[in-house]
Symmetry: C2
Subunit: 200 residues, 2 copies
């Protein structure tokens, strides 16, 4: 099976993004991460920060979100939330990337689900234990909050809720991926090697 697209989902702080970037470099694949948010911003007119935060939220099914928020999107009055609107824009961009036929690595944004019917897609999930992730976000990103564990758990919960809402699949459940790796235990380099080995 020739792999043309690698999607990388990841726990925050697991090094999943670093692994994805190195895989793309080693294989000579295009790399999409914040580029998707930039394209959604161009498409929708929302700011990148707004899109990034919405993209990791669990859409709340409240009168507020179905009422007020839907009216905030020009031309959409049929009850679609901002989250739904951003999802469709994001989905279109990811499909366009896949349609281009150029080999690529796509980080996050439920690309695994969006491209599920296509041939040649390898879906990867990267995770690591809490001490590894706490060390990583405090050391590399300079995160200085008092409760990094709470912040990581909150991030996980939001990503899981967002994924569940739009895909009805459990984020991080092994059978939803082709390969999942504990980057803390195996090391980032080994993860890169395994993924590249499958794509070559």
């Amino acid at each position: 099976m020739a792999i043309k697209i690698i999607t990388v989902s990841r726990q925050f702080g697991s090094g999943g993004r670093t692994i994805a970037k190195q895989v793309a470099e080693k294989l000579g694949f295009d790399y999409y991460d914040k580029e998707i948010i930039e394209n959604v911003a161009l498409e929708t007119g929302f700011s990148k920060e707004f899109i990034a935060s919405k993209g990791e939220e669990a859409p709340g099914k409240t009168v507020f979100s179905y009422g007020f928020e839907s009216q905030a999107v020009p031309g959409i009055m049929n009850g679609m939330t901002t989250h739904d609107y951003l999802w469709t824009a994001q989905r279109k961009i990811i499909c366009d990337i896949a349609d281009s036929g150029k080999p690529c690595v796509i980080v996050g944004r439920s690309a695994d689900y969006i491209l599920r019917e296509r041939e040649g897609v390898l879906n990867v999930f990267i995770h690591a234990d809490m001490p590894f992730r706490i060390d990583r976000i405090t050391r590399l990103y300079g995160e200085s909050e008092n409760k990094p564990e709470k912040r990581l758990n909150d991030k996980d919960k939001k990503r899981a809720a967002n994924h569940k809402h739009f895909t009805d699949l459990q984020w991080g459940f092994a059978p939803n991926y082709d390969l999942t790796l504990n980057s803390g235990k195996l090391g980032l380099d080994k993860c890169v090697d395994i993924i590249c080995g499958l794509a070559k």
Copy 2:
């Protein structure tokens, strides 16, 4: 990190057992699968068939299971079920195997959880999609039931419920393993190579 013990959990029909056996052969590791059931049989006096079936069941918390079944185990009258009794016997055997210090591969029996505090353990989960598994159980094991999908789903549910009952962990949830592999997509040989590559 030197890997001394590889635990392999697997969906029924995914080829996980075949992968585990080939990994053990390639690495020159001891292999434990039915051997554990045989040792539990020696330890407890129950038949191998009885142990195998109980080991994949979800213990029911009914008056029947806490009442009648507990009385079926000689000398245990404090409410321990047969499932609990078999779990402790099995746990002891798996710990004894680990204590021996000889490198080994252990299939199933929640060995990943039982050995969670030890150094040098690699926890692997193997899964595959339904068509691959149906083909495998009908072609290789001669399963001829009318509803193979139902049988596979029932097996998954039982293993998940058993694992949850004794470990409080979700069976198949990626963060509970170091490596999970879609054997149907990647192929059994590639799975063997990846696992051996990590243990060498």
